[in-house]
């Protein structure tokens, strides 16, 4: 295994490319349940923010942040056309009737602002263990889904037909919006 700090910097792009692919998959109405091989009905939507970055020659970078519940994402797709990549995305994930909202960062894979379904259990007394386990179960479902999607994406990236199919499909989508 590589030195952790070196690996973190060297493979930042893997997480960012993955988030761009997530956006593409959402916009092209991918069947996430089928992709994940899950019996649950799983859907993903872009939430209330998306952050992109673009290199502007030398070492300077341009950062494009789109925020708002009903924000149009045209600036984002325009940035993609100019060579930008997604660095952070807020997602709404629905698993059957349960809703999850969270922000995921490409380089660190950190999940922040995760809102899970409500629980009726109390924070005190005998119910604390149940509450912890239920909350943990909710959080881990999100990780499970995002990890599986990430590894599926990498599987596609190293497949022989990636350049003609996967990458071309993303380019076609970017060109069409």
């Amino acid at each position: 295994m590589l030195d952790i700090a070196t690996a973190y910097n060297k493979y930042t792009f893997l997480g960012n490319d993955f988030l761009t692919w997530i956006w593409f998959s959402i916009e092209t109405q991918t069947d996430f349940s089928a992709l994940l091989g899950s019996k649950d009905v799983i859907s993903l939507e872009i939430g209330n923010s998306i952050v992109l970055e673009n290199k502007l020659g030398d070492k300077s970078k341009e950062k494009i942040t789109i925020k708002g519940d009903e924000a149009g994402l045209e600036e984002g797709t325009t940035a993609l056309k100019k060579g930008a990549w997604v660095t952070q995305i807020n997602l709404n994930c629905k698993i059957n009737e349960d809703e999850y909202k969270f922000t995921i960062k490409g380089e660190s894979y950190n999940i922040t602002g995760l809102k899970t379904p409500k629980t009726d259990l109390k924070k005190t007394g005998d119910e604390i263990e149940g509450l912890v386990l239920e909350k943990a179960f909710f959080c881990f479902r999100v990780f499970e889904i995002m990890d599986t999607l990430f590894l599926k994406y990498l599987g596609q990236r190293i497949a022989d037909d990636w350049n003609h199919k996967g990458l071309q499909d993303i380019k076609n989508w970017i060109g069409s919006v």
């Binding site: 973190y8 490319d17 999940i111 590894l151």
Partner: protein, 204 residues
């Protein structure tokens, strides 16, 4: 942003290695050995240690359980004293005034100012209580997964240092590269292909 609050920020770790003896006993003993002191040190600007999940302000691991289902649950507490700059300025001004009055001079030297500042910092450090921050930890020992309920860089760094010091097991932060290395079923040749990928260019 803790585990039982309404929103969560989470960083994840793969824990390298296992204990030779009983995990429950080892974890408990090491948590006790590196628990945060009950009495606050007057001199430390920063202190960090483990506390029971249910009792962040009384680190009594005899009274509270660390086992929650298949997890070990506990908290990292970081007590930090931070002295506001304006408070330092105020005490500095008072002490400089006193010094000038006592010496009968209308100025004080750079060295004297440095001495006064050190004295003021010592004085305030004694007076100001530390502010505690508590970050929950969930550890699935068998699956070598650990979840720290914060994404603050300083807390993550302190956690990594204290965890290794306490348990002698290395916490490896999960991000795209380490996720592939530690949690995927890719063959070595597939991993080689992944690690030779380059950033995508979407422009035609």
């Amino acid at each position: 942003m803790g585990l039982i609050s309404s929103t969560h920020s989470i960083s994840r770790y793969h824990i390298e290695g296992k204990f030779e003896g009983s995990a429950a006993e080892e974890v408990r003993n090491h948590l006790i050995a590196y628990s945060i002191p009950k009495l606050e040190s007057e001199f430390d600007a920063l202190s960090a240690g483990w506390t029971p999940f249910e009792s962040p302000y009384n680190p009594d691991f005899d009274k509270f359980s660390i086992q929650f289902g298949t997890f070990f649950a506990f908290s990292l507490r970081i007590d930090k004293k931070s002295i506001p700059v304006r408070l330092v300025q105020k005490y500095m001004a008072i002490e400089i005034e006193k010094k000038m009055e006592k010496s009968g001079r209308e100025f004080i030297s750079k060295n004297e100012k440095t001495e006064i500042k050190e004295m003021v910092m010592d004085l305030l450090m004694h007076k100001i209580p530390a502010v505690p921050s508590v970050y929950e930890v969930l550890w699935n020992y068998e699956e070598q997964n650990l979840y720290l309920f914060t994404t603050q860089k300083a807390a993550n760094e302190l956690f990594e240092t204290l965890f290794f010091k306490s348990f002698k097991l290395k916490p490896i932060r999960l991000f795209p590269y380490t996720l592939v290395e530690t949690k995927s079923a890719f063959s070595n040749s597939d991993k080689d292909r992944i690690f030779s990928l380059a950033p995508l260019k979407y422009t035609r």
